[in-house]
């Protein structure tokens, strides 16, 4: 049941500011106990909750342009709220949509590893634990106690650092407050970004930075035409970057395409 005070947490990533340094990935790995392999050459079986893609305009020098595109889980709403591509297909309700925050969760101890959610996700945001997590010597002592490490054979993905939301809610409760301040709940990647390219907050709250940013003329979402209705927005001033974020027929212009799906407020 949706609360009338429900939040709709989302993210705005300014691609004009992203330098591709990868701090967001490092911050995420350490915050969320994301396991890694001794050899990470094969990216198709690496686990990362946010991955920085490098895309180019496919032009030769000196017209080559590069853009770094950090991609966490898009926390899709779908055509109607809660109908995310992955949530609707999971046969065991191991992934769920939280109507209070709009965050798509993953219940590791419920997941039995059928990987249907991975097939459903067009963003490849979901990763499978092909191996048992192995940590280098003594590193287990430095794992975050707030996030449970995952076992072999289950799917995991970005949770918008949901444990941070829970901690902030606990603190607010003890202080007899209903609402969280914008800076009380921030994701690790947003905090780690040295250029301030990642902004996080409640997309429905007019006082949060993301509210204003998502309405910028530079704003767009990835694969919007699939009606996934993501809660991660991107900002770019480059038309080729915007075009790369979705699929268009030869005669189509990204800015002139009308989307069937409206945001949920």
């Amino acid at each position: 049941m949706k609360d009338k005070n429900a939040k709709r947490y989302g993210m705005v990533i300014d691609l004009d500011k992203c330098t591709g340094c990868g701090s967001c990935m490092v911050g995420c790995y350490s915050e969320n106990n994301v396991p890694f392999k001794a050899d990470e050459t094969n990216k198709l079986d690496s686990i990362n909750w946010i991955r920085v893609y490098k895309i180019t305009n496919n032009k030769t020098y000196p017209n080559t342009e590069v853009c770094y595109l950090p991609m966490p889980c898009m926390q899709c709403d779908g055509a109607h709220e809660g109908h995310s591509p992955c949530v609707s297909v999971c046969p065991a309700v191991a992934t769920d949509y939280d109507y209070d925050t709009g965050i798509v969760s993953q219940i590791y101890t419920r997941c039995f590893g059928c990987r249907y959610c991975m097939a459903a996700c067009p963003y490849h945001a979901r990763k499978f634990n092909w191996w048992d997590p192995v940590w280098p010597a003594d590193m287990e002592k430095y794992l975050s106690p707030n996030v449970s490490p995952r076992m072999r054979g289950v799917v995991e993905k970005c949770s918008f650092c949901f444990h941070r939301y829970q901690l902030a809610r606990d603190k607010a409760y003890l202080e007899k407050r209903e609402e969280l301040e914008e800076n009380e709940y921030q994701t690790a990647c947003a905090e780690a970004c040295p250029t301030g390219a990642i902004t996080f907050g409640d997309l429905n709250n007019k006082h949060h930075a993301v509210y204003k940013l998502k309405n910028s003329p530079r704003a767009f979402r990835l694969l919007e035409r699939l009606n996934t209705n993501p809660k991660v927005y991107y900002l770019t001033s480059k038309s080729w970057v915007r075009k790369a974020g979705d699929n268009y027929l030869a005669h189509e212009e990204p800015t002139k395409i009308k989307n069937n799906i409206k945001e949920h407020h």
Binding site: S88, C111, F112, G113, A120, N129, E252
Partner: protein
């Protein structure tokens, strides 16, 4: 000629040594698969060549393919017990045995294909009623139970068991109520065959797989049920012909084969027309709405437009047209060609609806994904084939699978 009292009276079987040698060879293949299965259960899915882009691969194709090929069981049950095509009673036993093999294999493959096999029961316990996979799991398990019930009376007809009055009467009474189970099987099959089509069709994040809906069911839901009913009989006829070839005797009269082939032909023709309409709508309406042209989906050297042509024309219209014509059915070369093309056609359809869905890049900046199965995946996919050969060999040797065998092959 009976070597043991286990062999039905009035029929001729190969020698014990010949049979044992054949069983040893097939069992060796089976054990290879069992070893691979052990490795996967013990070490995990890292034994496969699947990856995060290719989360569904060879096994899911094998699942979908064996369930479609096993569709001859529910469709022959429907035709025999509900429509009243009594001629098909001469082939229905084999259809049930094939169905039993296919569905037990599908369940086994599903058990291998999950990351946490010990949690497999969660699909029933924590069922998400909105998931097509949940519907598949429930209907598949229930239908496997129905197939087991349908198989039991045939097992009880083994001469040794049939001598015991209890088993004899049980078998007789089960035969009497078989129409109820056949109807239940048809009902369950409609849903699980459809749900398997729905598994791909509901993936609205995957433009290659996604199809428009009628209520909650994507078009693939109906196409999968239809194609299983259409092509399943081809596989039943193919196995009959292979068995006849190996045993060097006629086991089913042409009248039954031709009737089954004719019905299959009409089902294939109507299915392939529906499939063509679905493809045209998808190519010209659904996909462009998502920013894709048809050729975007076939822009790979492996997954080129030839596959679509092969599926619809070579393995669709051609076998369908052969089987609906009397001359085509009665010409053994054309009949064999049609049923083989049919079996390839439905397997190809299931292949593209699993593996091509994974291969097609959704982002314009991604490349096509490639995948080559590991030997463990191949071995565990061959395992059900070996298991099927063992079950069919045992069933043929010890059970009266073909009611017309005695009449067609009288022995002194």
């Amino acid at each position: 000629m009976n070597e043991t009292p286990l062999i039905p009276a009035g029929v001729k079987r190969c020698s014990k040594w010949q049979f044992s040698l054949w069983m040893a060879v097939v069992t060796a293949v089976l054990l290879w698969g069992v070893y691979a299965m052990y490795l996967i259960w013990y070490k995990g899915l890292n034994q496969t060549n699947m990856n995060d882009a290719y989360g569904f691969a060879l096994w899911i194709w094998a699942d979908l393919a064996v369930i479609a090929l096993g569709g001859g069981a529910f469709f022959s049950g429907f035709l025999t017990y509900i429509v009243g095509k009594n001629e098909l009673k001469n082939i229905i036993n084999l259809a049930v045995v094939i169905g039993f093999i296919c569905y037990s294999s599908a369940l086994l493959i599903l058990a291998i294909d999950i990351g946490q096999p010990l949690r497999g029961w969660f699909i029933f316990w924590h069922a998400n009623v909105h998931s097509m996979l949940t519907e598949v799991a429930f209907c598949l398990s229930c239908y496997f139970a129905v197939l087991t019930i349908e198989f039991i009376p045939l097992i009880l007809e083994n001469p040794k068991l049939d001598k015991k009055p209890f088993w004899h009467h049980l078998s007789h009474n089960m035969h009497g109520i078989m129409a109820i189970f056949a109807a239940t099987g048809v009902f369950l099959s409609f849903f699980h065959q459809g749900s398997l089509g729905g598994v791909a069709g509901v993936l609205y994040g995957r433009p290659f797989a996604f199809r428009e809906h009628i209520f909650i069911w994507p078009f693939t839901f109906f196409l999968f049920t239809w194609s299983a009913a259409a092509y399943g009989p081809c596989f039943t006829i193919l196995v009959t012909k292979i068995t006849e070839m190996i045993t060097r005797k006629k086991l089913v009269k042409d009248s039954a084969i031709h009737l089954f082939a004719k019905i299959s032909g009409w089902m294939i023709i109507t299915y392939i027309i529906a499939k063509s309409i679905d493809t045209i709508y998808w190519a010209f309406v659904t996909a462009p709405g998502m920013g894709f042209t048809l050729m975007d989906f076939y822009a790979s050297s492996t997954y080129n437009i030839g596959l679509l042509f092969a599926e619809i024309v070579i393995c669709g219209f051609i076998p369908g047209l052969i089987l609906i014509t009397k001359r085509g059915r009665e010409n053994s070369f054309l009949l064999m060609s049609a049923i083989i093309l049919g079996v390839i056609g439905v397997s190809l359809n299931r292949w593209v609806m699993v593996l091509q869905v994974m291969a097609v890049p959704v982002f314009s900046f991604n490349e096509w994904y490639t995948y080559m199965p590991s030997w463990q995946e191949v071995a565990t996919t061959v395992l059900p084939v070996a298991y099927g050969l063992i079950v069919i060999s045992l069933a043929h040797r010890y059970l009266p699978v073909f009611p017309q065998e005695k009449e067609l092959n009288p022995i002194d």
